[in-house]
């Protein structure tokens, strides 16, 4: 019969294979040499089915696991009282969490392993087949569903009252908009965020001070090879200390003046080889402070960008695209290091309006 169809090797699916129930195979075709379903492998009885002793042993094993779980639960309570957390003693925290955690793990794992073992070794063992029922509803059900929709449309007038329907669509479209505008609150409310990113606490005459104490630094304190972690004077008294520090943090280093390649216009930005560079990476804003005093390279720990301090923090490796901004410095009448002005460009990573501030 199938051979008369021609040499295609394909036959209609329902011609040779029965799907059990009265399911139409539609237009699907199956290959004639389709492998036959081998069916289930022969049933292999478990040792617990054959040997009553093994059955008993498994039963005892499972109940032992459940008893172990009880021991674990009680153990957790006991360790809570027996190993309390003592203030100022990290070792007590470790013992407390370790033993409570181990006991609870024992309690839960024993229940789980016991239950699985029960199911695998002791519960009735026979293979069964549940045929998947067809997903398509009966014709009557389908017609009724369409009818319900039509009735609802007529009774509500959804398609008839166009004004009503369209205004509802408009309401749905407008509803999520406030959520988008709420993002504006992530930036400070009373200032232009781009303007805030542009400026730092540094300005003319602000002293460079040590992080965290805020004590001023004399130029003579900065010996060759030194690295000072610097914050602007008065930072500790500001209201938003961390926000200001995140922009104004500076690394101060002293090189031999002949080692510095100074570009025109920056001649007076260093003081006798003492240079100050923003500590905020121009890539994504990690603090760049891994200073190698012999190579004069700065390494960013997050993505391995490297900056060459000899060449005005030029990028020599890594994903950063711009050199670190340099803070122009000099000394005041008392010999303390002060800033000449704010950074000439925004510090840190790029932001949307950054281009407007480039010089």
């Amino acid at each position: 019969m199938a051979n008369e169809e021609g040499g295609t090797g394909l036959v209609p699916a329902d011609a040779s294979v029965s799907h059990g129930r009265d399911v139409s195979a539609g237009t699907a075709v199956v290959q004639r040499d389709l492998a036959q379903n081998p069916g289930l492998p022969p049933h292999r009885p478990r040792t617990t089915d054959l040997d009553p002793k093994a059955d008993k042993r498994s039963e005892r094993g499972v109940s032992l696991l459940f008893y172990l779980s009880i021991v674990g639960s009680i153990g957790a309570i006991v360790s809570y009282f027996a190993l309390p957390i003592v203030p100022d003693d990290p070792a007590s925290v470790r013992l407390n969490t370790l033993f409570i955690g181990l006991s609870i793990a024992l309690a839960l794992l024993s229940i789980g392993i016991g239950a699985v073992h029960w199911g695998k070794a002791l519960m009735a063992d026979h293979e069964g087949i549940d045929i998947r029922h067809p997903t398509r509803g009966t014709d009557a059900t389908r017609e009724r569903a369409v009818e319900i929709f039509r009735e609802a449309d007529q009774e509500s007038g959804f398609n008839r009252r166009k004004l009503l329907r369209n205004s509802l669509f408009g309401a749905f479209i407008a509803f999520p908009l406030p959520a988008i505008f709420l993002f504006r609150d992530l930036a400070p409310a009373d200032n232009d965020p781009a303007e805030l990113l542009r400026h730092t606490m540094w300005e003319e005459g602000v002293r460079l001070t040590r992080d965290p104490e805020g004590t001023p630094i004399k130029a003579s304190d900065v010996t060759l090879g030194s690295a000072f972690h610097v914050i602007p004077e008065g930072l500790n008294e500001t209201e938003h200390k961390l926000e200001e520090k995140a922009k104004a943090a500076v690394l101060l280093m002293r090189l031999k003046p002949e080692d510095l390649n100074v570009s025109p216009g920056r001649e007076d930005w260093n003081y006798q080889g003492i240079v100050a560079y923003s500590k905020i990476c121009t890539h994504v804003g990690c603090p760049v402070a891994l200073y190698e005093q012999q190579t004069h390279h700065l390494l960013c720990p997050c993505h391995q960008s490297q900056f060459d301090i000899k060449n005005e923090a030029e990028v020599i490796f890594g994903p950063a695209k711009r050199p670190l901004p340099q803070l122009p410095i000099t000394i005041d009448a008392d010999g303390y290091l002060v800033a000449r002005r704010d950074f000439t460009e925004p510090v840190g990573p790029s932001f949307w309006e950054r281009g407007e501030y480039e010089q």
């Binding site: 070794a121 030194s226 005093q293 190579t295």
Partner: protein, 283 residues
Amino acid sequence: MATARKTDARRFRIKSANAARRTRSPRAARRSPLATVALIAIGLLFTGGAYAAFNASSSDSGAVAASQESVERGEKLFAANCATCHGLALQGTEAGPTLIGVGAAAVDFQVGTGRMPLQNQSPQAPVKPVQFTDSDVDALAAYVSSISPGPSVPDSEYLDAAGDATRGAELFRINCAMCHNVAGAGGALTEGKYAPALTGVTEKHIYEAMLTGPQNMPVFNDANLTPEDKRDIITSLKYLENNPSPGGFELGSLGPVAEGLFAWIFGLGAIIALAVWLTARAN
């Protein structure tokens, strides 16, 4: 004294072994010739130890005063071990930097931790077994600081690790943690250089490293971190070292890499093993 007592015991055993040969087992009898060898060895050890002890005690007092004798001995040691790279006048050569102005602290750190003499020219001098005795290190330091003064070996009052650990930890996080890791576990720098782990480093060597800035480490002079600051930093490091981590297993304190690997290998491994067990047929 202990060795003397032991020698007496040995001697006694030789005599009694002869007397009691008939009653003893043959194994005990065979021991008597060995005892002579042991006696000689103990005698040699004793004289050597006494000489070393005498030598050390005499040079200790000498180093404190940086006596002329110590400087002269240091000069000889320097000429024999260091001058090839650093030059006979400490002026430095192509192979090594000048030592003018580095001071006794730098010598004590570099030689006292075994970094110098340098094994080979590499990105960084590794820690290795110390090549000189303490008195030799002191003599070298006395010689180098006699040529041109520099930071001296720190006073023991700042090395007691009994300062303010909290303040020290804050200073450590600001000044040191970016390279040495927040738990002092060390970290990588560029081109094969690295910041070494700080666990197991003596208080004196930590202080000297801050003071002198060995290799690529920046200098933290007393105007930047006062001796009191340095004492606090050492205190916090020793606190970390001597107290167990409240979080349990530290996995080298290396952070997400070590922890992630642990979770992937053991966590996922356990999940896969459980899944295999769940779906396996019971026998």
